[in-house]
Amino acid sequence: MRRWAALLACVLWAGVCLAAAPADEITASWQLVADHLGRDAYVKLDQLAGPPTREQAFAQAVVAIDYQPVTQERLHEAEAVFEQLARGDDEIAAASAYLQARMYQIHYQQQDYAKAVELFRALAERQPRSHWAQLGLVKTGLLLLYALPEPAKPADRIAAAEALLPRIGEKKLWRDLQLQLGRAGTFYEQPLDTVLPHLLAADRVGGLVGQVNADLLASIGELSLRAGHYAQARAYFERYLKEDTYNMRQMTVRRRLEDLAVLEAKAREVKP
């Protein structure tokens, strides 16, 4: 009896090991992809035995997107897998739906922005709180700002992208869209008082690092100066000097603070 129990335990343990193996292999494959070793991940996934799980099928299609040389045929095959997986209602379904839209946005040689937006919107309807749906809304915002034929007027484009903001619950993604709304405002030379609120909103969320953060601070300072919001300009220029200590742009910011002092003095003279 004891022998049978030991044998049963061994069989069960082997079963657990066998069941766990593909999952571990998939984790290892994801790690290879994260380490820029996509080719190794592709081979590893290809060698897994048995019928592929949803995650394995997903991982294989993801890796295929960047398997060199990338061919349109391989991309179409990947899209077919994403389309199939997107029919579920789990995380993999949302990620697959997002990637299917991305195929049309950037991966295919001939981009189809309208189709990409249609797929992003469908995902946002189905799984609105999913991270991939939220990210898809930000990408939709970018396409509305610059790529779709309609709306035609810059102000309308910005308004259409702004309308997506309430649907984006993830703070960092909300910040990124706010930043891009501000950048689109300067790109289309919109009134500075419509541009600045977006940049300020992005800054309030924070979390931007390096050059992007430094550019944002300098930009709010300079655009505030141009718009006549002197106190705000001073606050941001001073913050820039504190936070971006390595950049020779400090010299230009100091010069702009001198210019600002002159403007402030003039403004004081005008006031009764």
């Binding site: 998939i26 984790t27 994801w30 790690q31 992809v33 994260a34 380490d35 820029h36 070793l37 996509g38 995650e55 991982a59 993801v62 890796v63 997107i65 960047d66 990338v70 995380e91 990620a95 990637l99 991305r102 950037i106 991966h107 991270h131 990408k139 970018l142 396409l143 700002l145 610059y146 790529a147 960092k172 990124d176 891009q180 950048r183 689109a184 300067t186 790109f187 030379e189 979390g207 931007l208 690092v209 390096g210 050059q211 992007v212 550019d215 300098a218 930009s219 300079e222 655009l223 971006d244 390595y246 950049n247 020779m248 742009r249 400090q250 010299m251 230009t252 910011v253 010069r255 702009r256």
Partner: protein, 536 residues
């Protein structure tokens, strides 16, 4: 000699040859078996005097610390066609070195970072482990560089991501032959302003005419002229850049200037650009005729022969010039124009930056490296306080890392923060434009050249050149954002599987954020290009 002796002699000769080959293989060549299982190769083109010694010093120390790892330094003649072909063919063939020097300005190579280099952002945002026990112990690696790796971030395939660590800081300087200066002027007073330099150039011409010696104020070659042109053009156009600074970031990227050209915000006919070109032409008259036909080696020889009073060069040439010269050399900053300067005075924003704007000798990680962890580890040691000090002491080049002691002999290379920069000089904003400027430079210099001829030649090609360069920018950005989807998905999957790792969601969020910015840029460029298509 009978047949038997002949065949024995042949056999003996064969065995002797074989024995010699065996001895050679086992005693002279690289060991067939190494006791160090990990081999990292680092390649660069700084084969001037200095850097190879600096890097060797770093390698010796690193190998002491890591007995498992062997580091090989690969020297490739550089910057030009040989390096470019060597790099591309090795990367395409999957035989690239682990770490390699690269410059975004390398002609026809702008797709390389996106295709072949891996970002090192995660490591850059954490302290460099080799700075333990130093004042930089708790400082994120990126912030230990004297410039916070500003240029590397701007030029990265994805803005905000880090792809390279740098080894040195460079500046441009005038190197003066003091003995010749004394011979010409009777003293050793160095020029401080551009007006002083003009006056001195007059004396040099007078001296050459009087003595019949072929002496020029500046040693001339295409390379030195281009460095000088970039410096002067950047200074001349600062006010124009400020005017065109749509985003208010107080600086320009090359794509900003390409877009601004399509918008009609500047051209080679803009008064600031014309002033810069006039300065360039004036400077050219102080170099030997036909200088555009020669390269930097020729100008260095001209200077070392005592045929030129100054050479305008990067500090990268400093160790070679000082090591080879038979006369005392003074290093000085290029004399700057004053507000009353007749050519450029009215456009002057301030002193032009002649260094201090960024660190260089950028070393990138090959995506296909078999030992990415060890390669990054070596990169960290190379740019630690200890590694950087070793490099500086043995190369005579400035360090890239904060707090590293600068030897007295090269203190003149340091640039105090007393000058301004608004970004790219307008003549180097894309590889097609760079080629066109080089191709048409003869229209500016020489007795037959003129500013008007150069402007006419450039304006004839600029609309097409700008579009070509903008298309390249778009295509390079597409190359960089596409693989990021795969990375983002991998980070998302790993986050789900390892919720205890706090780094994963942060890396994912940063990558998504920078991808959004790159895609926005890409779409802006596309829109600008579509709006500016001929006929619209």
């Amino acid at each position: 000699m009978n047949r038997r002796i002949r065949s024995r002699l042949g056999l003996a000769l064969f065995f002797a040859g074989y024995a010699l080959a065996v001895i050679w293989v086992f005693t002279r060549s690289t060991p067939i078996l190494t006791d160090r299982p990990v081999v990292i190769r680092v390649a660069h083109w700084q084969i001037e005097r200095g850097p190879p010694d600096g890097l060797n010093a770093i390698i010796r120390r690193y190998e002491e610390l890591h007995p498992r790892v062997k580091v090989e330094q690969v020297l490739v003649p550089g910057g030009g066609p040989i390096f470019r072909q060597w790099l591309r063919s090795n990367l395409v063939g999957g035989t690239g070195v682990d770490l390699v020097e690269f410059g975004i300005w390398l002609d026809g190579m702008s797709d390389i970072p996106a295709r072949y280099f891996a970002p090192i952002t995660k490591e850059m945002l954490s302290p460099n482990p080799y700075n333990r026990g130093t004042p930089l112990e708790h400082v994120p690696w990126a912030q230990t560089f004297r410039d916070g790796l500003i240029s590397q971030q701007v030029n990265a395939p994805v803005p905000g991501q880090f792809y390279a660590a740098t080894l040195t800081e460079v500046s441009t300087r005038l190197f003066c032959n003091r003995a010749l200066l004394r011979e010409i002027t009777g003293g050793e007073t160095m020029p401080v302003t551009l007006a002083d330099l003009r006056a001195l150039a007059g004396k040099v011409r007078e001296f050459a005419a009087r003595t019949g010696r072929p002496i020029y104020t500046l040693a001339g070659s295409r390379d030195n002229a281009e460095w000088l042109a970039e410096f002067l053009m950047q200074g001349a156009t600062m006010r124009m850049s400020q005017r065109n600074d749509r985003n208010g970031v107080l600086g320009h990227n090359n794509w900003d200037e390409l877009e601004a050209y399509l918008d009609g915000r500047w051209s080679f006919r803009s008064p600031e650009v014309r002033a810069g070109l006039e300065l360039m032409r004036e400077i050219g008259t102080n170099m030997k005729p036909g200088f555009l036909q020669s390269q930097r080696d020729a100008s260095a020889q001209e200077f070392l022969r005592g045929d030129a009073l100054f050479i305008f060069a990067g500090t990268w040439d400093g160790t070679s010039l000082r090591g080879l010269a038979t006369f005392p050399i003074e290093v000085l900053r290029y004399p700057q124009p004053t507000p009353d300067d007749p050519v450029i005075g009215k456009y002057l924003f301030g002193r032009f930056a002649d260094g201090g704007g960024g660190t260089a000798m950028e070393i990138y990680l090959n995506k296909q490296s078999a030992h990415p962890k060890e390669a990054v580890d070596f990169l960290q040691f190379m740019s630690s306080m200890e590694g950087s000090q070793l490099f500086t002491d043995h190369s005579g080049w400035l360090p890239a890392i904060i707090g590293v002691r600068v030897p007295e002999a090269i203190k003149a290379y340091e640039t105090p923060w007393d000058s301004f920069t608004f970004g790219m000089p307008y003549i180097t904003i894309g590889s097609t434009i760079i080629s066109q400027v080089a191709l048409n430079m003869y229209q500016l210099d020489g007795p037959e050249g003129s500013v008007d001829k150069f402007i006419a030649a450039m304006e004839a090609v600029m609309p097409a050149a700008v579009r070509t360069d903008l298309r390249k920018e778009i295509s390079n950005r597409l190359l960089s954002v596409r693989p990021q989807d795969v990375q983002i998905m991998a980070l998302g999957a790993l986050s789900r599987r390892r919720p205890e790792d706090p780094e994963l969601p942060v890396s994912q969020e940063r990558l998504e954020s920078s991808q959004i910015q790159t895609e926005a840029l890409l779409l802006q460029m596309n829109r600008k290009l579509a709006e500016a298509e001929p006929g619209k």
